[in-house]
Symmetry: C2
Subunit: 354 residues, 2 copies
């Protein structure tokens, strides 16, 4: 079976666990009060919105790669990282003032609607506040999800420690990313650091190591997973950046010009700035972080990114990283049950059409 | 030794642990990047601002009350709840748009200053975002603080589970409190529920039970601590509400009219509304939640709260609750080393001058 089919099969298993867990939370919320029940219901619906579930699925395969065999319990544990993801998405959308998420209104937009019905107009700030609180609550649920599993205390405690280390690093990555968007002079080094913290560690390495901890992995296995995860995670982010400019809204779920409008600093824009002539640099400077970017300016920017070889550079770099991860994996002692999936993921990144 | 002196002695011990822990975090942040080092430094300074440290001290005495004897380790563990408190304060100040905290600028105000120096004017929203992230980061530090102690995994895991249960409940309390401020028709039942979640559970019972978990307490001890903590916590909140209107800025650290201006729903305002005549009710309705409240209107409101016996009612209710907690404690099997402090605290609440 190929990577995408396995991913889809496990997405469904993860989705079931999310619904089961969040249904309990909804009941608990309702028992406290109507308002808390409403919050819990919205959190349940938010967590259930369709997503790739790549992080929980990686928890499962990190566990299998280190010899773990209790699929029932690892699936229950895996949702912790998806609840963390929901928490970060809710807070991110507040910070970015995003209108939509996963094809539906952003969490604070939902509360805006509810509060305007309940309390009348002008309650936007209360909706923002409710969303900060909502993120905080669903983050706390993540710890409860792991607490409910049958893993022993040592594994649970290790999992919680790792999860919070991931949280802190992701927060730092988020801070850096935001400051890079403000800065005009971001370096490639800065961009790579954000990719390390926000993608390689958060999306790939973190989930794999969470699974490894629950499998009782040894140091060698942990190192092998990291050696795979960090380069593959960077490749993953670069491909995401390419899709964020050259992909389709249909595939990425967000407007194709949103990365540029937000002023997101990527290898694409850094290299284009570096290699472009004066005129091209001026066009780029005017385009990046310009919320009023026109369709024409957007197309012009894309042309410059291609012409300056920034696109080729990024593609090549992503490929090199994915290959590095693949090579590490092939030399490793990891269990075949997890390895196959990880190989498939690296290959998928290498072959993904852009 | 009396309660206040013991509290002060332990405040100092807790302060030392906070500084030691946050110094390590500052170093770690600096190793990632300049921006992360700046964030970590601000978080350290924020955590070090003088505070009552009632929560960590209660962790220590919950532990002692259940026979715990490793003071060195319990002090290290106790700071987790103070880091959680810092996280909630940072997020609360964002939500309330507060200017100051503990006599210094609110966290987002500090970032506003920093960003305006680094990136020019107009970066208020980035400062808000940085503060949401800051809260998320220091929340993650709490788990790291407990992970670093020498308690066994079972205790650490139980502690983390409880801590996150407290977090979720406090979030719900915060949500309710905010919605009560919007509503005109809050009931005494609503107010009591907020007090239960935001004070009795978060400030008193939660910390005591965290300490109990680390002492390996039995069910009876846990129940005895709860029986003490819940009524005493409610009494504590009611006294705080009284001080929030009739106290001095010097003692409470916030303007004496801020509770009323924010529209905080307390027994004082609920009872005054209930017992007041039409004219008095109109004055109260105009005053509560009015950010433009004049000194004259404030004084008039205080008079009504007294005249309608709402002040006497609240004082009496607080006294009854504190006595209930005290009575429970006297019948309990809890260890004298922790009990003395808890008795002192209940007595302090009973005798506190208002």
């Amino acid at each position: 079976m190929d990577f995408k089919k396995i991913l889809e099969a496990y997405q469904k298993k993860v989705d079931k666990e999310i619904s089961a867990f969040m249904s309990k939370k909804e009941k608990e919320g309702k028992q406290i009060s109507e308002e808390c029940g409403e919050m819990a219901r919205l959190l349940k619906e938010f967590a259930e919105r369709p997503g790739k579930r790549i992080r929980p699925v990686l928890v499962v395969f990190g566990y299998k790669a280190c010899g773990g065999e209790n699929e029932k319990e690892i699936l229950k544990a895996s949702i912790a990282i998806e609840l963390i993801h929901a928490y970060l998405l809710i807070h991110d959308d507040v910070m970015d003032k995003s209108e939509t998420r996963r094809g539906q209104p952003a969490f604070h937009k939902e509360y805006e609607e509810i509060y305007s019905k309940k309390y009348g107009k002008g309650k936007e700030w209360n909706a923002i506040s409710a969303s900060v609180i909502a993120g905080d609550i669903i983050e706390a649920f993540a710890a409860q999800a792991i607490a409910e599993t049958e893993f022993d205390s040592e594994k649970k405690s290790g999992f919680m420690t790792k999860l919070n280390e991931i949280n802190a690093n992701t927060g730092y990555g988020q801070l850096l990313d935001m400051e890079l968007e403000i800065k005009k002079d971001a370096s490639e080094e800065n961009v790579e650091l954000v990719h390390l913290l926000k993608t390689a560690k958060y999306t790939i390495e973190g989930p794999l190591l969470l699974g490894a901890i629950l499998a009782g992995a040894n140091k060698k296995q942990v190192k092998e997973l990291s050696n795979y995860a960090i380069p593959v995670g960077k490749a993953f982010q670069m491909q995401d950046d390419i899709l964020g400019v050259f992909g389709s809204e249909e595939k990425t779920g967000k407007p194709v010009d949103s990365d540029l409008k937000e002023g997101k600093k990527t290898h694409l824009v850094i290299k284009a700035m570096e290699n472009g002539n004066k005129e091209e640099q001026e066009i780029l400077l005017a385009a990046i972080g310009n919320p009023e970017l026109t369709k024409e300016e957007f197309e012009k920017t894309k042309e410059i990114i291609k012409k300056t070889k920034a696109l080729d550079y990024t593609k090549e770099k992503a490929k090199t990283y994915a290959q590095e991860g693949m090579k590490s994996l092939k030399k490793s002692s990891l269990n075949i049950k997890g390895r196959e999936f990880l190989e498939g993921m690296a290959r998928y990144i290498l072959e993904r059409e852009l």
